[in-house]
Symmetry: C2
Subunit: 297 residues, 2 copies
Amino acid sequence: MAVMPIERLAIIGVGLIGGSLARALKRAGTVGEVVGCGRNAADLQKGVELGVIDRYSTEPAQAVAGADMVLVATPVGSMRSIFEKIAVHLGPDTIVTDAGSVKASVIADARAVLGETFARFVPGHPIAGTEQSGIAASFADLYIDHRVILTPVADTGEAPCKAVQAMWEAAGAYVEIMTPEAHDEILAYTSHLPHMVAYALVDCLARAEPTTELLRFAAGGFRDITRIASSSAVMWRDIALANDGALLKALEAYRSSIDAVMNAIRDGDGAALEVLFERARQTRESLIAAKGKRVGE
Amino acid sequence: MAVMPIERLAIIGVGLIGGSLARALKRAGTVGEVVGCGRNAADLQKGVELGVIDRYSTEPAQAVAGADMVLVATPVGSMRSIFEKIAVHLGPDTIVTDAGSVKASVIADARAVLGETFARFVPGHPIAGTEQSGIAASFADLYIDHRVILTPVADTGEAPCKAVQAMWEAAGAYVEIMTPEAHDEILAYTSHLPHMVAYALVDCLARAEPTTELLRFAAGGFRDITRIASSSAVMWRDIALANDGALLKALEAYRSSIDAVMNAIRDGDGAALEVLFERARQTRESLIAAKGKRVGE
């Protein structure tokens, strides 16, 4: 691959995602220097002390100087301004990629701002993470056997795409290529919708009275189903707005499933409830059976 | 306590809940003989082989003969017919309790059918379980440090109530007393609603096209949030219908939270989304912090 090992990797937004990639590449010996960039110097200093990054700057323009690979791993709502800040400071061969959970909007931002570097911009999304965030939560194993989706468009160069693929594979991930539209639709259903559902469930409990009494009784099932509601509010605000079209479509479909349940309860229609619950149960069982299977397996 | 140890315990419906109680009481040495009852003789025979029950009958009337304690642990929709079958076969001192997830409807069934035994009927609900069901999934530790709610009414005798409490405490649980109405409202929010939410989420994926492609991408967050959708469809059909009033109220509240999310996305209102997500995140954090705390702690 063209740029493996990476001589200098700049990571804008060194949290769980960026920090874990840095740790994994360092362990694999496939990166020279890692330069971190973020708004909080104390966090970045901690990143240096933890050995996750080698040095840092709070200025994106400075952080990308001399980098052959740049990963933007900030909330998707701030990516356009990051691209604006780094555009004229990128080298002629610098590859730029991102870790955003929405692809069409990020691609539009990159296309509008990056100029000729857009041919070396490889849109990406590692399907990994926990509800934890921050550099202290990062770990080298995060990507092992996890999927990374790349969504190159017609203008995306083949060599940059292969280089980004090689980077993620070095971190232990496996890479799939698809269109940005397919990505955004699939993720709307399988990730963005579940987060909205979890947030709404906790929200409705938080608004109920008396909440304290209710929370005291929330059993294991409630804790599991709402785990992802502990995720970063800013990150999910950005995702919800950036993928609004596909997400609203998924939410409409979900709402009609909720309505079906409510109507069946109202009508005392046990047969309808049993069919819906049993189909859901079987669908989930097949999901568990498929767990960990990769394409073609 | 009056009837500890229990000389003969009859369990109608020997699944996860009934089987685990039998195992726990046997281990604690606080039960003499355990008689199982169910519709499937092969399952009951397996229960004997596993040492969970000592003998069995597929006839409730026979199973309760000579028992000093009877636990009905079937889906709540079948409890009335169980009560009808056992009513005239209960001894003059036999205590009857249940493990149903809804209390007002079960109490109404018991009141209508049990006659004078109703004074010795103690409505109960162990807040424990997994998405697994069946006697093979039962284990003696299920109730340790788990809450069992008893909802005695004005007619419920004090001695039977204390005996049932002692039984659950011997299994490792701690007991709380509340009204049936409070129980049904709290459980509607903290348990029944999350199950509807999880079933609806999987249902909407199952109805989407192409489902297979979507399921392949369902990440860890999706698997967690839908874990409880693997629960028994019949059991949850019965719960949804038996607690229809409180559950519909909780579903209405939930639906308005979903609508708030959808409206904010439609309006591009990032501030509203961030407030809702952050409040949910903090509410859930306080829930986790309260994990395991008992009343008064």
